[in-house]
Amino acid sequence: MDKLAITNFIMFCSVLSRKGAKVKKYAVTLVLVFILIVLSLLSLFIGVIDIDLKALAGGDSEAWWIFLASRLSRLLAILCTGVGMSVAGLIMQQLCMNKFVSPTTGATISSAQFGILLALLFMPASTLWGRAIFAFVMAILGTWTFVWFIQRIKFKDVVMVPLVGIMFGNVIGGVTNYLAYKYEMTQALSTWLVGHFSLVIRGRYEIVYLTVPLVILAFIFANHFNIVGMGKDFSKNLGVHYNAVLFMGLTIAAMITASIVVVVGSISYIGLIVPNVVAMFKGDKIRGTIIDTALFGAIFVLVCDMIGRVVIAPYELPIELIVGILGSLIFIGLLMYRLKNGRKAIRLGAAGSSACAAAAGAAAERGEGA
């Protein structure tokens, strides 16, 4: 009798919580979309030169020119950066089975910078596209080397993997700096060392659009990345070609990163923090998290950019600085949470249903015992 009542209660709870979860699943995404739209509109009207709607509506050609060539370009570059870096981070974390791997800690960014330096050295007259190709090639090679290395040496400790990545990245960065000093390129290179959006203007940033098809490609192969992230045996069992998917995923992540570094410069932390924060709420199924990760990444970069533009207006701080400050704070927060709660997921407003689930678990355990 008792047991029946408990079972009924559990069934009721699980139905409720499942319906709730379905609604919530889309609710979070919709809220993120809404925030992003509002912030984007806001961002269009922040800047040294005031643009008001009246001028735009009146067909003021100068206002329109600033609006389209500068503000809109900047906004689009920011969105691509946020989406691209966070998705690149998500892919790399999944494929490397390590939550601390990202374009920064996986030597991708420093390799891309090295590629740009090579382009400046060997093809001084190179266009943006020429540099981009160098950056692509080096970023891909650097990331492959890093992953090949961590697969060769099976690290017991999860922290060792990003540490090796950081060291590897610093070695590449050191070589880049040495060459830059030797050939008096430091000035030219500095644009790509610290990420900023102030030089984003029509005609100089379009490469960053490459992130869009690459992110779509990542979405298409999301399930493959998930399966490869479960390990070699797991992939083989399901008929997925481990190495092919691994290298394709890394190539996509490296190309996304390189196309951003060429235009904006180095932006750290986003690829590390954004996927981790989203995963805490939504788990690791890429199909389920990639859209939220992209949206949250875009919002994060947009907010950082707006702070950078407002704090010391009419001057502006490079985005890398703001991202660094905010990012490290969030990262410390993440670490503290992990230390306190382990890998337990956060369920938004689901205190009741998770209690139900716990009760269900306990009851089932008892049922098994009986």
Binding site: N223, M230, F234, L238, R287, A357, G361, A364
Partner: protein
């Protein structure tokens, strides 16, 4: 499935030495033997996870390495150690992967139906939206089996499925293995350390020693003082309980 003259060397050391046997369909076959006897390596080779040096594994009349990976994954499922899953997936998401060889990630309503039935079969309905890393070892193991059921293969290979489980969950696991065979008609091949589980729950035992098959046959033929004593170099007594030969070693 037929295995002929299988050989595998690691660093010049022969770990599998011309192993040949035929796996009967629709039965539970346990591979036993001391550590390093080659049973896990043989399992790896017949499931195409490990490359062999020489020999042949014929699966449905065709060499296993000639099979298309995707086609093979609809016919043969392998589960290796499962305790190391770091990923935060819900039970249902994990089981959904079992349909991947069929759907490529785009599940039809029929796929969803198969997934639901697999979850029900493993009695995991209450847990289907919970993350696997929040479950107990036994529940997680059942979730993995549910995935294999969703994969809907005729052959199921399990590498030490009772490893790291307590007696209660390990026994449950073995009962599930039996059901996979009796109710779902699957051929189950498993590597086991616990001889008595092999004796009680399987139809055939394949005993390994030093990379060779010491004995392969129905349970009663293998579960003798002489055979077991020879394989493990330990004294055995065989007792009959519920009509099954069980061993005591000391």
């Amino acid at each position: 499935m037929e295995v002929r003259e299988l050989t595998k060397k690691y660093d010049g050391k022969t770990v599998v030495d011309s192993v040949s046997f035929t796996i009967p369909k629709g039965k539970v076959i346990s591979l036993i033997g001391p550590n390093g006897a080659g049973k896990s390596t043989v399992m790896g080779i017949i499931s195409r996870l490990i490359a062999r040096d020489s020999g042949l594994v014929a699966f449905e009349g065709q060499d296993i390495s000639k099979w298309k990976s995707k086609e093979l994954s609809k016919r043969l499922a392998i589960l290796t150690q499962t305790n190391n899953i770091q990923m935060k997936l819900t039970v249902r998401e994990l089981v959904t992967f079992g349909r991947f060889p069929y759907s490529g990630g785009h599940n039809t309503p029929e796929d969803e139906e198969i997934i639901s039935r697999a979850i029900e079969y493993m009695e995991l309905q209450e847990f289907e939206d919970r993350f696997i890393d929040e479950l107990s070892g036994g529940q997680r193991q059942r979730a993995m089996i549910a995935m294999v059921i969703a994969q809907d293969t005729e052959h199921v290979l399990l590498d030490e499925p009772t490893n790291n489980l307590d007696i209660y969950h390990a026994t449950n696991m073995m009962k599930i293995v039996r059901r996979l065979c009796d109710e779902l008609g699957k051929t189950v091949i498993l590597v086991l350390h616990e001889i008595n589980y092999a004796a009680f729950y399987s139809d055939y035992i394949c005993a390994f020693k030093d990379g060779r098959i010491a004995h392969f046959g129905p349970v009663k033929e293998v579960m003798t003082k002489e055979v077991l004593g020879d394989i493990y170099n330990v004294d055995f007594e065989i007792m009959e309980i519920s009509g099954k030969p069980l061993s005591i070693y000391y």
